[in-house]
Subunit: 239 residues, 2 copies
C-alpha cells in the first residue's frame, strides 16, 4: 500500500532530518570534532546504536552535514544573486559577497567545517564536489554576463598568463562561460579567494587589532574587488 508505506518512509525521512538538525546544533555549539554520535542520540532520546539505522558511521553524518552546508550557502548566494536585475552587475557582485559573509557569520561552525582546516582523518568524498561548486559557479556566471554586457568593460590587461594557467582558465571557461578570456576569469578567481580570505580572517580572529569590526572594511574591499574584476560603476549610462 502506498500511504502506509510512505508512513514508515516518512518517519524515516523525518528522523533523518532530526538527526541532522541535532548534529548541526552540536556543531554550532561545539565545533566539528566535538560532534559525537552518542551525544546526538542522547539529545534525541535514543540509544546510540539506533543512529546506525540512519547513518552507517560518524563520518557519513559529517559528510551529510558538509553537503548540507555547501547547499545552504550555495542556495543563499544564488538567491541573493537572482534577487537583483541580471543587468545590475555590480549589485549582483555585492549581493553575492554579502550573502557569503552573512551566511558565514550566522553559521560560523558550518563555515569552519567546509572552509576551515579539513577534519583530520576525514577526507571529503566525491559527493561534496557538486554542492561545493555552487558559489564559484555563481561567480563565473556573473563573469560571463559581465563579459557579454556592453555596459561593462572587464579588463584583459594585467600580468600575462603562463601557458599552464591559461590552459587551466580555458578549461574552467569551457564548461561554464565559453569565450570568457583567461585574464578576466583569473581576476574573478582572485576576487573569489580574496572574498573568502577576508571572511576567514574575520571569523577566525585575524583581523582583531586592525580592521575589526570588519563591516566597513568588508564593504570597502567588495567595491575594490568589483573594480578589480572590471564591473561597471553603479549608475551605468546605457549606451
Amino acid at each position: 500500500m502506498n500511504a502506509s508505506r510512505t508512513a514508515r518512509e516518512r518517519a524515516r525521512a523525518e528522523l533523518t532530518q532530526e538527526i541532522k538538525e541535532e548534529a548541526r546544533r552540536q556543531l554550532a555549539a561545539e565545533g566539528a570534532q566535538r560532534l559525537s554520535l552518542r551525544a546526538v542520540a542522547r539529545e534525541l532520546g535514543m540509544v546510540s546504536s539506533a543512529l546506525y539505522r540512519y547513518f552507517p558511521s560518524r563520518d557519513d553524518l559529517l559528510t551529510a552535514l558538509i553537503i548540507d552546508a555547501y547547499e545552504s550557502i550555495g542556495a543563499r548566494v544564488e538567491a541573493a544573486d537572482a534577487a537583483r536585475p541580471p543587468a545590475d552587475l555590480r549589485g549582483r557582485w555585492r549581493a553575492i559577497s554579502q550573502a557569503v559573509r552573512e551566511w558565514a557569520l550566522t553559521h560560523p561552525h558550518e563555515y569552519a567545517l567546509v572552509y576551515g582546516s579539513p577534519v583530520p582523518g576525514y577526507s571529503a568524498p566525491q559527493e561534496t564536489v557538486v554542492p561545493a561548486s555552487r558559489v564559484p559557479i555563481a561567480l563565473v556566471k556573473l563573469a560571463r554576463d559581465a563579459w557579454a554586457s556592453p555596459t561593462s568593460a572587464p579588463s584583459t590587461e594585467g600580468p600575462p598568463l603562463s601557458p599552464t594557467l591559461a590552459a587551466q582558465a580555458e578549461q574552467v571557461a569551457a564548461a561554464l562561460a565559453p569565450g570568457l578570456p583567461g585574464p578576466v576569469l583569473t581576476r574573478y578567481i582572485i576576487g573569489w579567494t580574496q572574498l573568502f580570505g577576508m571572511i576567514s580572517f574575520e571569523l577566525f580572529g585575524h583581523l582583531v587589532g586592525s580592521v575589526d569590526p570588519a563591516d566597513d572594511f568588508f564593504a570597502h574591499a567588495v567595491e575594490h574587488m568589483a573594480d578589480f574584476v572590471g564591473l561597471p560603476a553603479d549608475t551605468p549610462s546605457p549606451s
Copy 2:
C-alpha cells in the same frame, strides 16, 4: 654553583624542546586535535604525568606550538624580505608572498593550526598576539617604504573610506607607518587577505578543479596584487 645549576636547567630546556618537537611531529602527522599528551609522552619514553613538569596542561602545549608556528612563519617572512635590497619593493612583495606560501606548503598542519578553524574549546591567549603580527607588520613596513619611495606611486584612488574604516586604518598606521594614507593601507590589507585566502584555498582543497596545481596562479595573483597595492614594476627607472 653556576655550571651545575645550568646542568639541570639545560636538561630542562632540552626536554622542553624535545617535547615540542615530538608534539610538532604528531601535529604534522595527525592534526591539531589528535595531538595528545599521552602519545607525546609515550613516544618520548616517558610516563604521561611527567609532561606536567613541563607544561601545566595540554592547552599550554598547544599554545606553545601556536607561538612557535607564528614565530616560524614570521621569521621566514622577515628573512625573505631582508634578503632583497630594500629599494626592490616589488621583489620584496614577491619574496614575502612566496615565503608565506612555501612555509604553508611545508608546514600544512601548523598552518592549519594558526590560520585554519580555531581549535574548539581553546581560545588563543594574549601571548600569541605579538608573534602573530610579524607577517602583517612586514607588509605594513613594505607599504611604508613604498609610500616613502620616489619610484613608487601607490594609488590613493578607489572607493572612499567610511569614517570608521578611516579611523581603523589611522590607528594601524599610527603605530607602524605614520603618515601612510588609509586608502593605501587598506589596499595592503586587502592584499594580505587575498594572499592568505589563496593559500588556504590551495591547502584545504578548494582550488581542485580550477587552478590546481596552483603555482602559476599564485605567481600571477602575486603580480596582480603588487599592481593593486601600487608597487612599481620590476625595472624602475630612478628619477
